[in-house]
């Protein structure tokens, strides 16, 4: 069985700066796989490369055995990848539930004719889509905001909303970029539960996160980046005892 995500020799240079350099690792289906490292280590760049927002300078990413070379983010979504952003990307011109319903875009067959004349088939699909979105919002814990304008929601609620939107696409793998950033202790604990629930449903989770307690608690494996290079890779136990990691990151 091959890995769900296989990254080999990945390089990304911005001008002369190598944000990511020679990074290789693989993520098995069903894992919670975290990427950690100091600020500027290249974690978000790595996520942007995997999700097709950047194109690699060198190297290859395979999703389910297929090379993702030159695939657009929307084509990766069709292949089962979805993500959230460190700088949240919520459509503020829509309501909360519409944002989540947007996540089901690929699951909805819609043609212009049935849309313009609002045929019963469209209404049926919309109803079940709305129900699904509502279930997801309750699942992530922002069910009370259904028809609230996204622009009127709190930061913590928007973070959960973004996860609900990503889940709405029923991805095989979900990439969460610093989901705990800016959350308080209680919210982080709730987030940890949520990530666990997502993983228990069989969705592979890739995580970029600074909160070490969170990461060490839920990850199956970790990748430690430093200055764009892999410093270490392994289980939380191995990482915790790795002298390089302790020197560069944990112990300071």
């Amino acid at each position: 069985m091959s890995a769900l995500i296989e990254v080999s020799g990945l390089d990304k240079a911005f001008g002369g700066v190598h944000a990511v350099e020679g990074v290789s690792f693989s993520v098995e289906a069903g894992q919670v796989y975290s990427v950690i490292g100091p600020n500027g280590a290249g974690k978000t760049t790595l996520f942007n490369l995997i999700s097709g927002i950047y194109t690699p300078t060198k190297g290859e990413i395979r999703l389910n055995g297929e090379s993702t070379d030159r695939l657009e983010p929307n084509q990766l979504a069709e292949r089962g990848m979805c993500r959230t952003f460190q700088q949240m990307q919520i459509c503020m011109n829509m309501t909360a539930i519409e944002n989540v319903m947007l996540g089901r875009h690929l699951k909805l067959k819609s043609n212009l004719f049935s849309t313009l004349f609002r045929l019963p088939s469209l209404l049926r699909d919309e109803k079940s889509c709305r129900q699904h979105a509502q279930d997801l919002m309750e699942f992530v814990g922002c069910g009370e905001y259904l028809d609230t304008e996204a622009s009127a929601m709190s930061y913590g609620a928007l973070k959960r909303l973004e996860i609900a939107r990503a889940l709405a696409a029923e991805p095989k793998v979900i990439l969460l970029d610093e989901p705990a950033a800016g959350l308080n202790g209680t919210e982080t604990a709730a987030l940890e539960d949520l990530i666990r629930k997502i993983a228990d449903q069989g969705t592979t989770v890739m995580l970029v996160e600074h909160d070490m307690k969170l990461v060490m608690g839920i990850s199956d494996r970790l990748l430690v980046l430093n200055y764009g290079r892999v410093l270490a890779e392994g289980t939380p136990e191995e990482i915790r005892n790795n002298p390089d990691v302790i020197a560069a990151y944990l112990g300071g």
Binding site: P73, C82, I90, C91, M94, E98, T115, L122
Partner: protein, 335 residues
């Protein structure tokens, strides 16, 4: 029951229908009717443009070009080739849609000012072609257009008609027809917005990168909405040509493109009812401002500037916000 009605998605459409068909009570002469008919046709054009600008967040400074193409196609086919109005409008809409798709694919990759420039250029090219091909378009002198007709039945501003036993002159009949067209245009636009396609369009505006990572092919949707708004413009241009009975290259001019986009911004981007109000206000202002004579243009500019400074969201959204705030305050006071 009343509450349910107010929540309904058809609320706006019903209110609009009531206003449109109650309006004749306040209109006394053919000039009023002609102005109202123009407003309705241009409002429908702006409703289409708003799909592109207000909902999908793209800009077009060349939309009068599509309006003009529709007007001239209809004028030429019905005037010189004996086509009936409906097929001319339909074929014109399809051809303009194809043209919009062809030019839209490359230029919609551009963003912001660059997209403005590119659409501006498209509008200019169309206007220049219409001006210069004087053998078929009449050039700067313009060309006459036969009245609107359906199966041999003509709708002319100079005819007389009877509807359910009520005698109507041509201007009145045209107004009722244009009002119905506007209602259909609004209904279609609302159906489009309140659908998976509409969500995808709005997400292009809200966050293009978010749209892409959930699988929205944003390039395709931008082209789609560009085409739809161009078809709106083309069909309305055709109707406008029939209504006026005479068209000049002004219908495709840069000035008119700017008027259209101003109506969207003034009325309220992303608010279908708002942009209709924008069209009405912008069409009405010059009539009211004639009292100021040579100061007319200055007053016009001043009003636009003040509106945008104090109501940056546009007329209707600002008013709605003020009303809902007041209602909330009152509800809070009682509790």
């Amino acid at each position: 029951m009343l509450n349910q009605f107010m929540q309904s998605r058809l609320r706006g459409l019903i209110i609009l229908a009531v206003i449109l068909y109650a309006l004749p009570a306040f209109l006394s002469n053919p000039f009023h009717y002609d102005l109202a008919t123009q407003m309705a046709i241009i409002a429908a054009t702006v409703v289409g443009l708003n799909l592109l600008v207000g909902f999908a967040g793209q800009i077009s400074l060349g939309h009068a070009g599509f309006f003009g193409l529709g007007a001239y196609f209809t004028g030429i086919m019905t005037g010189n080739y004996g086509w009936s109005a409906i097929p001319a409008l339909v074929v014109g809409g399809i051809l303009v849609g194809i043209l919009a798709w062809v030019v839209g694919r490359p230029i919609l990759r551009l963003k912001g000012h660059y997209l403005s420039m590119a659409t501006l250029a498209v509008g200019f090219i169309i206007a220049i072609v219409i001006n210069n091909e004087s053998q078929i378009t009449g050039g700067p002198d313009g060309m006459p257009v036969p009245p609107f007709d359906v199966f041999g039945w003509e709708l002319s501003p100079f005819g007389t008609y009877s509807l359910f036993g009520i005698e109507l002159n041509g201007s009145q009949a045209w107004y009722l027809f244009a009002a119905a067209v506007l209602l259909v245009a609004v209904w279609l636009a609302q159906n489009l917005i309140d659908s998976p396609i509409g969500r995808a369009l709005r997400s292009v505006h809200g966050s293009e990168v978010a749209a892409r990572v959930v699988g929205v092919n944003t390039a395709r949707y931008k082209s789609l909405v560009f085409v739809i708004s161009a078809i709106y413009a083309s069909v309305m241009g055709g109707l406008y040509a029939h209504f006026q009975g005479f068209i000049t290259p002004a219908v495709a001019s840069f000035d008119f493109s700017i008027v259209l986009i101003t109506m969207v911004v003034l009325g309220g981007m992303g608010s279908t009812m708002g942009v209709i109000l924008g069209a009405v206000v912008l069409k009405l202002l010059p009539q009211i401002l004639t009292h100021f004579q040579e100061m007319e243009a200055v007053m016009f500019g001043l009003i636009l500037m003040l509106t945008m400074i104090f109501m940056p969201k546009g007329l209707l959204p600002t008013l709605q916000l003020a009303v809902s705030k007041r209602l909330k305050k009152r509800a809070g006071g009682q509790a």
